[in-house]
Amino acid sequence: MLTACKNTPALMTQFICFACLAFGFHSSAVGDNTKDALMGAGAHFAWIVFDALKEDLEKATGRETILFGENSMLGVGCNAGIKAAKQNTLTHETFGFVCCPLSDDEINKHQLIVYPLAKEPVLILTHKSNPVNNLSIEQVRSIFRGDITNWEEVGGDVRPIVLISRLHCKSRPGHWKTILPDAKEFRQERLNVKSASAMVQRINDFKGAMGHTGSTWKFKPTDEVKAITIDGYGPTAKNLKSGAYPFYRQMSAITTRTPSTDVIKLIKEAQTGPAFRRVAEQYQLLPLMPKPHITSQK
């Protein structure tokens, strides 16, 4: 714990540096050259979707779109998405994207409009050499709780389970909370990582590892990682829709309460456009109804 605390300032510094770099870059260099561009920033997983749609979005709006969100491990996450949305002005049109559903409190506090894009399966990952390819929901939850600590108990090799978790966006509902609703329920003897890449790296290293990440993560061909099925259901949009696959999260776009027409046009295109459907299929995303969700103001 002591060591973890010691590392916190370093991570904070990293985050601040990257944020300054990213937004500083936007407000100076980008601001001058792409005065009319629409700017979006946020969580890495949502960025992957937006980035894949970029050309279609620009066609739909007729304006250049600039996106920030690659490498969420460096700190550009959901909070950055909220911040980007809040920076929207008449002359500087922005929007954000998040990988987790925001809480009502958060939406009201920041005066945001949330535009749900899709449900993304949360993959349960193990080492490729692990003979176990399927677990029941209960077994998964037992493993994450620490009730099951050896693969032998679920039909695998005699090998201790190395549990790897990434408990991000703790104040927001959904995502890893679909596995266990509270961080306190997770097994103590686990590796808690700060990024999806670290998660994948740890699973690569430990043959007895088990972890989780969103389905939009781009695995490298050299990764010794696989996603297992839950109760025989794979992490697909179809299984999400049917409710057979239980672990998911919701990715959304967000704006202030006064988004520009072009921003709305862009988000609509993202929610409903044919390009988005293609991307959703590629990453097994389940598109959500394109209804803007506005909560009552407090």
Binding site: T3, P160, E189, R202
Partner: protein, 526 residues
């Protein structure tokens, strides 16, 4: 005080050589002490340097240990090993990926229960670490690894507040390490345990007994100056590291230095001697020349001195002396010329430039001696111008003088080289002529008379015919020179009187009878 500069120069040179030699000798003996002292300092400094190096290596190793210890992933993986009981494959793989570059000898990660989590084959190291940790908190210690010394640094690994184990890294003082330090310290290193040399970069030293006496050690009949290298907190207290320098190399250095000093001394002395000799030679040579010239001048000679183009003081003095000699020589020549002129004027007649009566006194004895020696006849031909008074009265004294001059010139022309012509009175002239017969004098007299008669004097477009009466006598060799001259002049004058009495312009010989032969007299005399 030495009397000459030459001796002084030689003395100065000897003094300089002596001074140099003494200085060099002092340098030699003093430098010997300095070298020995410096050698001791060098050994001490080298051992301190080695201590510093070891300290630096120790800190470096500690830093590496801390880098590994502070690696979050290493901690996590150790945590998994310790708390979850995974195998060490992931840790090993991660460790090798991350830390294979570390310049250390061995890597070890131990669990809190003493299990080896990383570095399975290093059981000896694990045991040494466990033993050390059980007795000491010090993060560095030394242990024996074969014949080498292994420096071990360790650090505890904590994760989530609990201690998981320790990480230990090692660095070894093996043969290559000893060699590396030999490169810049120039000395030998010995790893010793229980009085035996375990490892050394000195060939053949290993397994030899290590016996130290007064900071010196003898190995294979060679002595080494030895200093300890401090290894703080040794676990194995029987392990020691020593630094040594060969006395032979020190002495060789000293010997080399001595040779250089000796060479310098000899070169210096030779150079001073050579310079001294050159100075003596350059200084002495012109001085000696001056001395020789001075002595020569003192003896009355004025030798010629060649001037040189050299500009030093001595040569300038020599040149001045040469100029002075040249001036003296010119003065002397002038004096000689004047003296000669005076002498000439003393024996010649100023009007006719013929010898005067005084010179007759000088010349006569010599001519008489010659005649006596060679059995010849010395004739005295005495002549007197006829009617000279009338010429003076008629033509003036100047014309008379010119007549005398005319006669003088004729006499010079007619007489032979070895004849002497004198003006012995106003219009009286005498010719001394040495001949081998009495007739020769008479012939000469006749020749004079007739020539004068045929060659009148010319005075201002006036031809003055002049004649002379001549009386001839021969020297009586039996007489003394003075008397002989008087006798000669007396008889010649008698003959002249006879010539005048007979009517002038004629030659008369005395005695008038030819039977008188002076050689008869000479024979009587001899």
């Amino acid at each position: 005080m030495l009397p000459t500069y030459r001796l002084r120069l030689i003395a100065y040179t000897i003094l300089l050589v002596s001074f140099l030699t003494i200085t060099m000798a002092y340098t030699y003996y003093y430098s010997r002490d300095v070298i020995l002292e410096e050698a001791e300092n060098s050994v001490t400094n080298a051992s301190l340097l080695l201590n510093g190096n070891i300290e630096r290596e120790k800190k470096e190793l500690q830093r590496y240990t801390e880098i590994v210890r502070d690696d979050l992933r290493i901690k996590e993986y150790v945590f998994m090993l310790v708390k979850v009981g995974t195998d060490n494959e992931a840790l090993t793989s991660l460790y090798h990926r991350q830390y294979d570059w570390l310049p250390v000898k061995r890597h070890l990660i131990l669990g809190t229960n003493g299990t080896i989590l990383l570095g399975n084959k290093h059981e000896d190291l694990a045991n040494a670490v466990k033993k050390h940790i059980s007795i000491s908190e010090e993060r560095v210690f030394y242990s024996r690894l074969g014949n080498a010394i292994e420096m071990i640094t360790w650090a505890p690994v904590y994760y989530q507040g609990s201690r998981l184990g320790v990480i230990a890294l090692t660095h070894v003082f093996d043969h290559s390490w000893l060699e590396k330090h030999y490169q810049y310290s120039g000395g030998y290193l010995f790893i010793e345990s229980n009085g035996v040399i375990l490892l050394s970069n000195l060939p053949d030293a290993e397994n030899k007994p290590f016996i130290l006496k007064d900071g010196m050690m003898n190995i294979s009949d060679e002595f080494y100056q030895i200093r300890p290298i401090s290894l703080s907190s040794k676990q194995d207290t029987s392990l020691h590291l020593w630094y040594g320098v060969s006395m032979r190399s020190l002495l060789a250095k000293l010997e080399r230095h001595s040779r250089i000093v000796l060479l310098l001394t000899l070169s210096g002395a030779g150079a001073i001697l050579w310079l001294g000799l050159i100075i003596v030679r350059n200084f002495n040579k012109p001085l000696s020349e001056l001395m020789r010239i001075t002595r020569s001048v003192a003896k009355g000679h004025l030798p010629v001195m060649t001037q040189t183009k050299k500009k030093n003081e001595i040569h300038m003095l020599s040149n001045q002396f040469a100029v002075m000699l040249q001036a003296l020589r010119e003065k002397q020549e002038e004096i000689d010329r004047v003296h000669q002129e005076l002498e000439q004027s003393a024996i010649t007649d100023s009007l006719t430039q013929l010898y005067n009566r005084r010179h007759l006194q000088d010349v006569f004895p010599r001519l008489m001696a010659q005649a006596q020696r060679d059995h010849l006849y010395l004739a005295g031909i005495l002549m007197d111008l006829d009617h000279f008074k009338q010429i003076n009265d008629q033509h003036g004294h100047l014309a008379g003088d010119q007549c005398l001059t005319h006669l003088s010139q004729l006499l010079r022309d007619i007489s032979r080289t070895n004849d002497y012509v004198f003006r012995i009175g106003g219009e009286e002239f005498l010719v001394l002529s040495v001949n081998d017969s009495p007739k020769a004098g008479q012939i000469l007299g006749e020749k004079i008379r007739s020539t004068l008669e045929q060659h009148p004097a010319s005075v201002k477009d006036t031809i003055i015919t002049i004649t002379t009466s001549i009386g001839i006598s021969h020297v009586n060799n039996s007489l003394h020179a003075e008397e002989a001259l008087t006798s000669l002049l007396y008889y010649a004058d008698k003959a002249l009187y006879q010539a005048k009495a007979n009517g002038r312009n004629q030659v008369k010989l005395y005695p008038l009878q030819t039977e008188h032969d002076p050689r008869t007299i000479w024979n009587n005399v001899s």
